[in-house]
Symmetry: none
């Protein structure tokens, strides 16, 4: 049973991700402590990662604050190349696999796993892969005080939960980044283990097209979902005043499918047609989603 | 040769340690930054350890300094019970297995190993042990500026080296404590990851709903797709005289997502709403699928 589940899981969710050396991004959302930004840069650099994006940090000048620089120690190049953006969406270009970091599982959210467990599944998926496409991975960290919002967690493919003492799970943000960066680096083979270049494959089997399929990134998925949301309201299926968990559910469903850009295009076409059809009065509109 | 070495090694060095739940001590030698003492306390507590000893810290009052308390967050009991001693010897009562933490191997020193590798050997030693005695383990951390002295490293059974980027091995002291504490806790069996109730069927992890998720079978999927086909024609998206490969594509997409019965229900609701919306004349109908 378990093997079957894993097999099904990684065939559909993981294959596209791991092809050679996935690009790895760390995203801090609404961080309030400058010292933690510095600690994050240092932690990333010790593990050989360099792509840092801050979403709506408390301090606009956080990359240049004294405490940031102090805690970054020698990792100043990470800060120098870091980006600050206003919304999570802007941080997700090129990312196809999103890992939330969250202490508590959410209903309707992605599965919760320990980092080592999840990374082993990713690695195994890579070894078993015969076809795959491009993709990057991002690790999302919420604010020191409130963690990640449900909305952000819902977008992710997995919620990584670092195993801590049930009596005291209060990991420092920089420490959490350090642990994730370390585990991910270990999963990638660690240092000193050369990674062989993988052949470029086409993923015909997943699209049925026989052509190279380019995975949609999280930004494109989110744009399509926004389009759908509008369309579902338009045809009277989604009640915006009582949306229930419809959109998070569709998000999870499409995450599992690992959509290609071509499929995003098709689904946007469906949304467009729905909107056109829904722009006329609908006497016998169906009710909103039940759940 | 290698097996013999390991066998000899753990027979003499490891056996006494692992018998049930070894006492674990963290020892900071000549620490100069109060913030790191606080971070150490917090890191230890998240991993369920509580025995902290400081050898000749720079600040005599380091356990009560403001920066220490701040960085310790809620781990104040660790600080309260911590001891300050003048020499390493005084910190080693009850300890039978000493682990140095050092970036660079020393001549004449103990073997250098990655923490995970060493802890796996300890765990294996425990499993193979038939007789053993009492003993505790201690992790030693040198000063921020100079690391550990050769003299202190020579006393240890192993030098643990956390694998870092060869270009940038500058781990923060608190981060190093966090990684060692984490790896050691994992080796001791770890804490569980908070898990929502697992569904009965194999698809539970993929839906993330926390409730029982029953996979839709092929018949249910095909019924839903037929419903969608009709609806897509109804809203003018699908031209039945030139359907191209739209339905096979959607079929593939939903196959990859491994739909649950509940999701089938939602998608049928969408189809129903589309049909209702499409049952009115659509002057500006969008064209059929392009591919």
């Amino acid at each position: 049973m378990r093997a079957a589940t894993i097999g099904r899981f990684y065939r559909h969710d993981f294959l596209p991700l791991m092809q050679t050396h996935p690009s790895t991004r760390f995203i801090l959302i609404q961080t309030s402590h400058a010292g933690n930004v510095g600690a994050t840069a240092r932690a990333m650099k010790t593990m050989g990662f360099d792509d840092l994006v801050l979403v709506a940090p408390r301090w606009a000048n956080v990359l240049r604050r004294e405490e940031t620089l102090q805690r970054a120690s020698g990792a100043l190049d990470i800060l120098k190349n870091a980006r600050i953006v206003a919304t999570l969406d802007e941080a997700l270009d090129g990312v196809t696999h999103l890992c939330a970091t969250a202490m508590t599982p959410r209903d309707f959210g992605p599965p919760t796993r320990a980092p080592r467990q999840h990374f082993e599944m990713l690695t195994k998926a890579k070894q078993d892969a015969t076809t795959h496409a491009n993709g990057g991975i991002a690790f999302l960290f919420g604010s020191e005080r409130f963690g990640m919002s449900n909305e952000d967690v819902y977008r992710c493919h997995v919620a990584l939960s670092i195993p801590t003492d049930p009596q005291f799970g209060s990991l420092n943000l920089g420490a959490a980044v350090q642990l994730i960066a370390y585990e991910w680096r270990q999963a990638l083979g660690g240092f000193g283990t050369p990674v062989r270049p993988e052949p470029v494959e086409t993923s015909g089997s997943s699209t049925g097209s026989g052509r190279t399929a380019i995975l949609a990134d999280a930004q494109q998925l989110s744009g399509m979902l926004a389009h759908w949301e509008k369309a579902l309201v338009g045809i009277g299926f989604l009640d915006p005043t009582a949306p229930k968990k419809l959109m998070p559910r569709l998000n999870q469903l499409f995450n599992r499918a690992q959509l290609t850009q071509e499929e995003i295009h098709i689904l946007r076409g469906v949304a467009k047609a729905m909107t056109a059809a829904g722009s006329h009065p609908t006497p016998a509109a169906t009710g909103p989603a039940k759940s």
